[in-house]
Every structure is written in C-alpha cells, then in structure tokens.
C-alpha cells in the first residue's frame, strides 16, 4: 500500500491545491530555503537567514 501519510504530506501547505486562495490572502511569505522554494512561484517569498547563527557563525 502506498504511504500517503508522509511527514512531507502532513506538514506542507497545500500549495498545489489552493494557489488562488494563497494569492488572494497572502501578500508575501517568509520561509527557510530550500524548503520554501516551492512557494516562490506562487507568492513573493523572502528567504530566512539568521545573522548571528548562520551569517555570523563563522566570524568567531
């Protein structure tokens, strides 16, 4: 039997099913790359980076 209850299926916003609703109600979204790559073609998306723990982490 095909597993349709994967973690990915349970946690993903149903972008394929409801892009009109997304476009109507969401002006912009913010997400972690690369997971949020799936949103960029639907709503303007900002990529999250942490200035201290990632961008700044190699400064120490």
């Amino acid at each position: 039997m095909r597993n349709t209850g994967s973690v990915r299926n349970r946690t993903s916003i149903p972008t394929q099913a409801k892009p009109p609703r997304l476009k109507a109600h969401i002006a912009r979204t913010l997400g972690y790359e690369p997971f949020a790559d799936r949103y960029t073609s639907i709503v303007p998306t900002l990529s999250y980076h942490d200035g201290y723990t990632t961008l700044g982490s190699t400064l120490h």
Partner: protein, 184 residues
C-alpha cells in the same frame, strides 16, 4: 572579518534569487555594544552590504533588537546596504527587551520600519501600542504556531486583530518549513 562568512552569505542569497525569492530576511542582526551576541557591528554591516551588492534589486529585511538598531543606524556600511530607498527595511523586537509603550516612542526615532512582535507573549494592550506606531509597517511574530494553525486562519485572525491598517503579518514556527505570512 572572516571573508568566508561574507562569501557564504552571498552564495546563499544568490541561490535564493536564482530560485525566485523576492529577497532575504536577516534575523538576529547583532551589533557591538548591545550587550548580547555581539558579532560586531561593522562585520554584520559588511555582510549586509555584500548581500545588497549580490541582489541589488531584491528586498532585504533585517530584524534586530532596538539597542542594536541605535548602534548600527549611523554606520556608513549599514546605510549603503540597508537604507529604505534601496528596498531595505528594518524591524526590531520588543518583548523582554523594552516595554511596548517605550517602543512606541522609540521606533520612529530609530528610523525603523516595523516591529516584530511575538504573539505568544502579546497581550491586547501590547497590540494596541503596536497599532499606535505612525506611518510604519507592522509585522507580528507567530512563534510556536504550526502550519495548520496558520493555514486554517486562526493565526491570521489573531494577527489581523493586532494591526489596524497595513495588513502585514509575519511570524515563525521554528519548524524549518515556513515562518511567516503577510496577509491582506
């Protein structure tokens, strides 16, 4: 400054740009003299400047504590990289670092464009203070909210209640899936 750190940051934002992102959100920007997590004002400003050079027309949003913004705003590197006229926007959190009513008075003076609010701790009075911020954009952290909570409208309804006019809401779930929504 370790040149590799800037190169890594630039590589990330270039990758994001290639994949269609509207810009980058730099959280937890830290400055020297803030008393916490002091990466270094000039080093962080240099990273912002490098990111701006890599994605000249994309949006850069920067979130920091108020004490950091007071330090960084006068930096030439900061102005080159993050000035609002170049699609840069800055916000700062308020919870646990200064009272909300003080933030209401402070933020315009710091030329910040928004307030990042943690809804987990927000009260109605806090939200009212945020709503008083004049001519600024308000966005609201949705810490600990899940995907389903955002999607079924509960979080959006709460956030709409927070801000009176501009309809911009952001947040984070710490699930490494999706952090924020802006609603209209």
């Amino acid at each position: 400054m370790n040149p590799n750190s800037s190169a890594e940051g630039v590589a990330w934002v270039k990758r994001d740009h290639k994949h269609g992102y509207a810009g980058t959100f730099v959280d937890d920007f830290e400055a020297e003299g803030s008393g916490q997590h002091e990466v270094g004002t000039m080093r962080n400003c240099s990273i912002i400047e490098a990111i701006r050079a890599a994605i000249p027309n994309d949006l850069i949003e920067i979130n920091m504590q108020p004490q950091d913004s007071a330090i960084t705003w006068a930096s030439p590197g900061w102005k080159r990289g993050a000035e609002p006229g170049r699609s840069g926007r800055t916000s700062s959190g308020v919870y646990s670092y200064l009272p909300w009513d003080t933030a209401h008075l402070l933020h315009p003076n710091l030329a910040l464009q928004g307030v990042h609010v943690d809804l987990e701790h927000a009260t109605q009075g806090d939200a009212y203070c945020v709503g008083l911020l004049p001519a600024h954009q308000y966005w609201t952290g949705l810490h600990r909210f899940t995907h389903d909570t955002i999607w079924n409208g509960a979080a959006i309804s709460d956030a709409t209640w927070v801000k009176p006019s501009r309809d911009q809401v952001s947040g984070s779930t710490y699930t490494r899936h999706s952090r924020a929504v802006w609603c209209r």
